[in-house]
């Protein structure tokens, strides 16, 4: 199989990904031509406002979107294999073994009727052919490694007996127990207390370093991506609008939406002269069930020109590896000043 051949190039290469839903109100295109790549061992951030399609992008990589949805696109290459062409059986062999997921809600993402140990053991029994005893020992060990004290005892407990932070630790342990190559983490810290968030994030990154997994980290928290990601994709209304290294995105954001997002991050020490009020982007996300001519951001864009409402912008490289979907990418600061 192709997975045995050492594979140079990206671990994950998503091209032209679309996700369509049929709803009672009509068709909805939740993801609209997303290109995205993750290199082996890399931590990649996927950020954007609520509803921009982050979760659907993530779920369609492991082909777990709601049955009413359809995944389309050129390809989703994982270790060189096109996941869009795989049968359900082969796909199942990858899930939990080479591609794992961590979800937002640690409360509801664990089965209330199965013990933590059973749930952690399941992937080992399934993918590595261990018996339940052996898997149980590994599960306890893994639980210890994610910083849960008295792991043996905890294995026998049920999700409701653990705190939210503990549960998310258990989720992470479960996702990494088969040493996957890719971890899809959909807002892994959003539902947690602020104090616990940092611990969980640190834990994830530490384990990632130990296991060598690449991470696609979905979040709407720019602080989280700034701390942990090598590269960032910014999504808006189902599209990637900017892509670049963390340094590039934070240092020289080249899409008006990214600039808006940055300004809406509260700062501890606002630069002198700036208003101390949190500046959020005015307006709302456009509806995805109607055709959107022109730039999807134009109704909210401070840099918009007349052509923006009719002519959809192409993706342009501002510098190698730094792309922006804006007519004025690279010239925002020289062209029209923000109104």
């Amino acid at each position: 199989m192709s997975t045995q051949i050492p594979h140079a190039g990206p671990l994950l290469d998503v091209s032209g990904l679309t996700v369509d839903f049929r709803t009672l109100a009509g068709p909805v295109r939740a993801v609209h031509g997303v290109d995205l790549a993750v290199m082996p061992g890399e931590v990649v951030g996927l950020v954007g406002e609520s509803g921009c399609g982050k979760t659907q992008t993530c779920l369609s990589i492991s082909r777990l979107i709601h049955p009413s949805g359809r995944i389309g696109g050129r390809h989703i290459l994982f270790e060189g294999t096109d996941l869009l062409q795989l049968g359900e059986r082969e796909m199942r062999r990858l899930r939990g073994a080479r591609i794992s997921m961590v979800f937002q809600e640690p409360m509801s993402s664990l089965n209330p009727c199965l013990s933590i140990g059973e749930q952690l053991s399941e992937p080992l029994v399934l993918h590595q052919g261990m018996d339940w005893r052996q898997a149980g020992r590994h599960a306890a060990e893994m639980l210890g490694r994610v910083g849960i004290p008295e792991a043996k005892q905890r294995c026998r407990e049920y999700p409701h007996q653990l705190s939210g932070g503990m549960r998310q630790r258990a989720m992470i342990a479960m996702a990494l127990i088969c040493r996957p190559k890719l971890l899809l983490a959909d807002e892994p810290t959003t539902a947690l207390d602020v104090t616990v968030q940092a611990q969980i994030l640190a834990l994830m990154l530490e384990l990632r370093e130990q296991t060598g997994a690449a991470v696609l980290l979905v979040t709407h928290n720019l602080g989280v991506v700034a701390q942990s990601c090598d590269r960032i994709y910014v999504m808006y209304a189902g599209q990637v609008v900017e892509e670049g290294t963390t340094a590039a995105i934070f240092g020289r954001p080249e899409h008006p939406y990214t600039r808006g997002l940055m300004r809406s991050v509260p700062r501890l020490r606002p630069p002198a002269g700036s208003p101390d009020r949190l500046e959020s982007i005015p307006g709302t996300v456009p509806r995805l069930d109607t055709p959107l001519p022109g730039c999807r951001f134009h109704s909210r864009c401070a840099y918009a020109e007349p052509r923006c409402s009719s002519e959809p912008p192409e993706v342009r490289a501002v510098e190698p590896g730094h792309l922006s979907r804006c007519h004025f990418a690279g010239q925002l600061d020289h062209g029209g000043a923000p109104r």
């Binding site: 990858l94 899930r95 939990g96 089965n111 399941e122 993918h127």
Partner: protein, 313 residues
């Protein structure tokens, strides 16, 4: 295990007032409904002297509160007195007919449960497809048709029309079990339909839960996801409502035994009601109440087994 035992004991103690309530209501109902059992037994030949003598013999001439206490006191030691019509000990009659009812009820409840859960699961896994629509149509029809009508239709189809099965009664002998087929079938259909619908709804609800997505993300095959992760959670409302299913089965037994002339406790009760045979009515009602209460306790114990979040208090 200790928690289970002490819980059971506490619940059993709590059933005493429930049973007392059932007794009181039955007693009141019996005397509200007009009609004198002695008069009924004599039929056409009315003889006031004999009627009075019978009433005296059964204690029906005494003030109501005296009768009430008399019955209640004897009932505590499971003595319901003798039947007005057959003169036999009520407790004896019930025990004697218990096997007939059990031989009908246990297989049909078990079959109904197994088939109902399986069909409900299948239906939920193929939601809104042909299989599901068929199962839903059939079970909906079964639930909507009055039970006795269904039983009579079965009698007509297999007994009159196809002439392959006996339509009623209970006969010992090598082919005696054939008499079981139609009544068991009728009763199974009844519990099957209800349980299929319950299971389908419960499984469909559970399938939308986040932990089902987690299970799929582990790479588990659909059947494992449904059986290990969904069915277990979907069983919670089912076992919690075990007493409701048992109550349904009891009502079913009542009709089935009457229609198929099956000499079980249901038929005993039907005959007793027709004859206004108070001791037998009370005996069978209390028997049903005890069964119901036990099912309720067992249901709670099972819920605590299945759902780790439930602690027995």
């Amino acid at each position: 295990m200790n928690a289970y035992l002490s819980y059971t004991i506490r619940r059993l103690v709590l059933t005493v007032p429930i049973l007392w309530g059932v007794f009181t209501v039955t007693f009141i109902l019996f005397f509200i409904v007009p009609g004198d059992p002695a008069r009924l037994i004599m039929g056409q030949h009315r003889d006031p002297a004999m009627q009075a003598a019978m009433q005296k013999q059964w204690g029906l001439d005494q003030p109501k509160h005296v009768q009430y206490w008399g019955f209640l006191k004897k009932m505590v030691v499971l003595d319901f007195g003798r039947s007005f019509t057959t003169k036999r000990e009520v407790t004896q009659s019930i025990l004697q007919r218990l096997p007939a009812t059990a031989v009908l009820g246990l297989p049909s409840l078990t079959l109904g449960l197994l088939l109902g859960v399986a069909a409900g699961l299948w239906s939920a896994m193929r939601a809104n497809r042909a299989v599901d629509n068929t199962i839903r149509f059939v079970t909906f029809s079964l639930v909507s048709i009055p039970f006795f009508l269904l039983a009579i239709c079965l009698q007509w189809l297999f007994g009159q029309h196809l002439r392959i099965l006996p339509i009623s009664g209970y006969i010992n002998g090598p082919w005696g079990w054939l008499h079981l087929v139609l009544p068991v079938f009728a009763m199974t259909l009844g519990s099957f339909a209800g349980l299929t619908r319950l299971t389908r709804t419960a499984v469909l609800e559970v399938l939308t839960e986040d932990y089902i997505r987690t299970a799929k993300a582990k790479g588990l095959p659909e059947l494992v996801v449904v059986v290990r992760h969904a069915l277990r959670n979907a069983m919670i409302p089912l076992v919690t409502n075990l007493s409701v299913s048992v109550a349904g089965a009891l009502t079913g037994a009542f009709f089935v035994e009457a229609v198929f002339a099956w000499p079980g406790i249901g038929l005993l009760a039907v005959d007793a009601i027709n004859n206004r045979d108070f001791p037998v009515i009370m005996g069978t009602v209390m028997f049903g109440a005890v069964l119901f209460v036990i099912a309720d306790i067992v249901g709670d114990l099972l819920t605590a087994c299945v759902d780790p979040r439930v602690a027995l208090k």
